[in-house]
């Protein structure tokens, strides 16, 4: 299970979206991404529709809020084991769909 890696080049997909990136993350992880329980972290790797929860080949876990689609999945799927707080991005910030 710990072998899951973000295999596809999702970044190119996210680059088609319009974002106004906020200076700080609207999602706060309890122990930072690197310190998360790998089994719980796997759920986020599988379920985040922007594949922002990642594990590199050498096993380092990371999270980058900048491409967030603000769906809230990470707020629900792990209960309160990983995500400490989930807020809306600052006024005017975050993703802006042109199609939706």
């Amino acid at each position: 299970m710990s072998m899951i890696t973000a295999e596809l080049n999702i970044d190119a997909y996210l680059a088609t979206n319009k974002y106004e990136v906020a200076p700080e993350s609207h999602i706060v992880l309890r122990d930072g991404a690197a310190g998360c329980d790998p089994k719980e972290f796997d759920k986020l790797i599988r379920a985040c529709p922007a594949a922002l929860y990642r594990r590199s080949e050498d096993g380092i876990q990371s999270f980058n809020y900048e491409g967030c689609l603000e769906c809230g999945t990470c707020r629900i799927i792990c209960g309160d084991t990983i995500v400490e707080s989930w807020n809306n991005p600052d006024p005017g910030c975050g993703v802006e769909y042109r199609f939706g």
Binding site: M1, M3, I4, A6, E7, L8, I10, Y13, L14, T16, N17, E20, K43, I45, R46, A47, C48, P49, A50, A51, L69, E70, C71, G72, T73, R75, I76, I77, C78, W86, N87, N88, P89, P91, G92, G94, V95, E96, Y97, R98, F99, G100
Partner: protein
């Protein structure tokens, strides 16, 4: 005196409908949206059944940004290397009041919010509501947004599937993974004529709705969809969070990738230009996961109240949201006029919902979530069984074949005839 008679949180389907009715009834109403415009943060699969919108805005057909009327329904049972498709077209589904249209939320929600504005509602965009004003006895009296307090006699909560405010307003529990699914979708631009041909539609204003069950979610609860818009195709998958949490190796992004590359699906979007990648949650807990719908000074409508149906092959929530929003707006306006916005004064909202299709449908399907979450045969075995039967019937290799029975029976036996009967009975009862 409060700043507004009513404040509505969220300019999606439910919120704009509620604000529209409140404004039409002559109440002062503020509609607050976190996106830079209504629809900026919203995504849907794509199909709007019109009956609800028609009750709200009877002449919507002349003004609403509708993409295409759905004149072809397709459902595919997808195995990893095969697909069995039913294609349905009928005169009846084109009749006014029964027809459905594909929509894109950025244009659609802007239009719906502009109708509320034209009726007299005040719309502010780009500001998320951070909190509710709640007094010591639990009465909701407005919102906190952009650091300011804005007071109102009634607060209508329509903040969608990822509601951060439902728990504060009506004590809703945080949804469990088993109550939610996640959708991931991409939009591909293509010339209108090409889309019309691929949908086998008769004109550029008609198109198809195409739903998939099976390999798109790697055998777990969920499904795939493809809707034709005027000049683009929306394609995506929806996967249950509980199944994902416990599931195998596949990520939702990889599922969508494999789904798009499937030989039954790839030709639909071939040559298209990717213009957006979006994600959104779907409430699927159904009737039994719904919170209280009324509080003192507060009403809740749409996805925020779990008014959504996910049957795996179909997601439906926009018509529920529009009608529930409309009823919330009407109930709030009546309560304001009568001078009683207590829980009791607002309670006709719940009564109206109960006698309408919204709660009747949701109650009728209350067994669906549990049935579907445990129904891996539908998402894994049955698409393969159908593939094997069809291969038995249609693949001719010059070796002598037996009667139809020889193609059908081994495939059916592989899942167990008893399971088949049991599942058919369960499906007829719950879906």
């Amino acid at each position: 005196m409060a700043d507004f008679d009513a404040v509505v949180i969220g300019a999606g389907c439910a919120g704009s409908a509620a604000a529209y009715e409140l404004a039409r009834a002559g109440q002062s109403v503020l509609l607050v949206e976190r996106g830079n415009f209504a629809g900026a943060k919203n995504m849907t699969g794509g199909r709007l059944y019109t009956h609800a919108l028609e009750r709200l805005i009877p002449d919507f057909r002349d003004r609403a940004p509708l993409e295409r009327r759905v004149t072809h329904e397709r459902i595919t049972l997808l195995a990893d290397d095969a697909g069995f498709t039913i294609d349905f077209a009928s005169q009846e589904m084109k009749e006014q009041g029964q027809e459905s249209y594909t929509v894109l939320r950025a244009p659609f929600d802007q239009w719906l919010a502009s109708e509320a504005e034209a009726a007299g509602a005040e719309l502010i965009c780009g500001i998320p509501v951070e909190d509710l004003i709640i007094d010591s006895s639990g009465v909701v009296g407005g919102i906190v947004a952009g650091g300011d307090e804005i007071t109102a006699d009634v607060t209508v909560i329509c903040d969608g599937a990822n509601s951060l405010l439902a728990s504060k307003a009506v004590g809703a529990r945080m949804p469990l993974p088993v109550h939610m699914a996640v959708g991931v979708k991409q939009v591909y631009e293509l010339p209108a004529d090409v889309i019309t041909n691929r949908a086998m539609a008769q004109s550029n204003s008609d198109g198809s709705a195409w739903l998939f069950v099976g390999d798109c979610t790697k055998g777990h609860f969920g499904g795939g969809f493809a809707y034709t818009n005027a000049e683009s195709i929306s394609i995506g998958i929806v996967a249950g969070l509980e199944a994902l949490a416990n599931g195998g190796e596949a990520t939702v992004c990889q599922m969508l990738e494999d789904f798009k590359a499937h030989p039954c699906v790839a030709p639909l979007i071939a040559g298209g230009k990717l213009v957006e990648h979006s994600g959104h949650m779907v409430p699927e807990g159904g009737f039994d996961a719904m919170p209280e719908l009324v509080g003192d000074g507060a009403l809740i409508a749409g996805d925020a109240a779990m008014m959504c149906l996910n049957l795996g092959y179909m997601v439906r929530g926009m018509d529920y949201a529009i009608s529930a929003g409309q009823m919330a707006g009407l109930a709030a306006a009546e309560a304001l006029a009568a001078g009683d916005v207590s829980k009791k004064g607002l309670s006709r909202y719940r009564d109206w919902l109960e006698s309408s299709f919204v709660l009747k449908d949701l109650e009728a399907h209350r067994g669906a979530p549990e049935f579907l979450e445990g129904f891996d045969r539908m998402f894994d075995d049955y698409p393969k069984v159908v593939r094997d039967i069809m291969n038995g019937m249609f693949v001719v290799d010059g070796l002598s074949g037996g009667p139809l029975r020889d193609a059908v029976m081994p495939a059916l036996k592989s899942v167990g005839i008893f399971n088949l009967f049991k599942d058919a009975k369960g499906a007829l009862k719950n879906l």
